[in-house]
């Protein structure tokens, strides 16, 4: 007879004390992971560390693949299901920055500590936690640290794995460092691109006026802000970063602007992408500058329904732990699962501040609750409470 869902919920408090005792191991892994720089496309050293740990925790099939993912399998007692536990290993932070981590009572601070060193440390440490808690899963648990997730990485790592694995995945749980309570089971449509402006050397400044690349980019930005955005489907355009110019005395001849257009509707995303390309072409035509748009990533909207057992279970577990679920769509690994019609959720582990800033930090105490949540969710999937046909 399978364990009832209420029994799973009721078992979570009993794990709390032991999980807290094991948090030292988790923190040690967190520090060692966070101090290895891993900008997207340069995750090799972090991947090697993850692999070494998975090997040490005696997972099976510990291996890497062509995309640079690191994975290992904790075999289940029955092995009829395969649960994928995922954390992206890459960060948006260059290796040249100081990745030193500081631990003081209450919190851990350092570059990328929340996004996503804590997520990686969690998936790496979880097999050990399961062993220490004497939890034996019926399902196989596949632990994977993915490479090439962020920015131009365009979730290539997890896509590569899903495109090439022969293992049927029953459900996937994506782990992010923050924020505890975060729950994503749908992906929003998204197009991510870079607009580049180059003013040619033979540019006729008397004809087109002064200003250079920044002025031209400003024109593009003004036109993007004029794009009418519908309230339904909800849509938005975010300008993420801009680079141009070197200082006084130099007219900037090059500029780049990174943007994301997001919408609940796939059609709207395509439309916004096309509109931005048209704006770039039009501004180029009347300024004489070369303005190009490169699309670097795209996601189709989708996901499991609010009433899907996996989503329901995830909410029940959070409520049981007195954490208010914060449901929001995601553009991360979740999209890759949605494309493959694999039920998946993204959860957060702790609270934190200053994401992707030099003083990024996470709080230590909530991690215990975050791990209880993760255990509950794994057990719920393991015992069949998250199957789509129930």
């Amino acid at each position: 007879m399978r364990m009832s869902f209420d029994v799973i919920l009721d078992s979570l408090p009993q794990y709390r004390e032991r999980i807290a005792e094991l948090s030292e191991i988790m923190l040690a892994n967190l520090v060692m992971i966070a101090e290895i720089p891993a900008p997207t496309f340069s995750e090799r050293r972090r991947m090697e560390f993850v692999l070494e740990r998975l090997n040490e925790y005696q997972l099976l099939n510990c291996s890497t693949d062509e995309a640079g993912n690191a994975l290992g399998i904790l075999p289940g007692e029955v092995g009829d299901r395969n649960i994928l536990l995922v954390a992206h290993m890459d960060t948006v932070l260059p290796a040249s920055m100081d990745h030193m981590v500081t631990i003081v009572p209450g919190y851990v601070s350092g570059l990328g500590i929340a996004d996503n060193s804590l997520g990686v440390a969690t998936v790496v440490t979880l097999p050990l936690i399961l062993k220490e808690l004497d939890i034996k899963l019926d399902s196989n648990l596949i632990v994977i640290g993915t490479a090439r997730s962020l920015g131009r990485g365009n979730i290539e790592g997890i896509r590569f794995f899903l495109d090439n694995t022969e293992i049927p995945i029953s459900a996937a749980i994506c782990v992010e460092g923050v924020r505890l309570g975060r729950l994503s089971y749908s992906s929003i449509g998204m197009v991510r691109g870079e607009i580049r402006c180059e003013v040619p050397e033979e540019y006729d400044w008397t004809r087109f006026g002064a200003g250079g690349a920044i002025a031209n980019m400003n024109e593009v930005i003004n036109r993007i802000f004029e794009i009418p955005l519908p309230r339904k489907p909800r849509s938005t355009i975010v300008l993420n970063s801009m680079k141009s110019g070197t200082g006084f005395d130099e007219i900037p001849t090059k500029g780049s602007l990174q943007f994301e257009a997001r919408s609940e509707s796939g059609q709207m995303v395509h439309q916004l992408g096309e509109t931005i390309e048209n704006i770039a072409a039009e501004v180029a035509s009347h300024t004489g500058a070369e303005i190009t748009v490169e699309v670097v990533a795209q996601r189709e909207p989708g996901g499991i329904q609010f009433s899907h057992p996996l989503a329901v279970s995830a909410r029940r577990i959070l409520n049981h732990l007195n954490v208010k679920p914060r449901i929001r769509p995601s553009t991360s690994e979740l999209s890759a699962f949605i494309d493959k019609e694999i039920p998946a959720v993204t959860v957060g582990l702790s609270t934190g501040e200053n994401l992707n800033e030099p003083d990024e930090r996470i709080h230590i105490d909530p991690i215990t609750t975050g791990l209880q949540q993760l255990l509950g969710l794994i057990l719920a999937v393991d015992k069949g409470y998250c199957d789509g046909d129930e």
Partner: protein, 329 residues
Amino acid sequence: MEMNKWLKSNTYHHSTFRDLAELVEKKQELGITISLCIPTLNEQKTIGKEVVIFRSELMQRYPLVDEIAVIDSGSTDQTLEIASNFGADTYLASDILPEIEPKRGKGENLWKAIYQLKGDIIVYIDADIKNIHPRFVYGLVGPLIHRPEIKYVKAFYDRPLAFSQGTRPSGGGRVTEILIRPLFSLFFPELSAIIQPLSGEYAVRREVLESIPFPIGYGVETSHLLDVYTRWGLSAFAQTDLDQRVHRNQPTRSLGKMSFGIIQTFFSRLSKMNVIGNVPELNTVLRQFQVHDQEFETVEFKIVEEERPPMIEIPAYRDRVASGPTEAV
């Protein structure tokens, strides 16, 4: 022992000892205990991480280390609170052997650790290491566990200096290259094979530690090398490459003070060993210069390299040893 032969047989890389399960098994077979001592003075930024990593990896997961103690010189920041919060045993150096008038200096903390800690081997690790990793400990105790004839294991590094844009892969060790290695080459050529004679990380057997004197200031590492070498020879040493150590870079003026203290220790040893005959009484004031309102002015620092006697000569220690070697104090 021929220097090249020693370099080949007694120089290790930490990865040789990375199989911690095997190392622990061997340690248990030998029935020995290992203590880790972290001397501190205002190290709140790095001490938490150091304690968490060592406790987790070397006590919880693999019981290689039997105790972790922070011995503090009187920090005015949160060093002791943080260390204690994450599970280290914490001591104020002045509270250990209170009947002996306290002195301030890193060597004092290292010396008092011999009394306070229980291990048959004591590993000393500085607290200012930014890229701390379990290899700093297992790399040093490995040779002691595997080779009974080795008594003293010293760390060496490819030392990057921390600077604002990350790290660069070489540099550091200025005092070593400008002062120590030339001195060793002049008087004790074999010791010049020790790649990083001033590194603050080493693992030593208790019977050695308790029988050598401890300068309390800058000269402690140098005096250890000279004393152990004189008594047991080069073959008692091993050294382990711990890869990189990221730490604070010291300004040249501070290195001047360090060199002044080391030279005092060195010459007093030379004199005791009758290597250069009688040395006149050495001056203890270092003079450096600074420019103030376009005038040069002298800045004087009094640096006296005081020395603690071998711990075995301290009655309280002998009593403790007599009452049982593994008795916690």
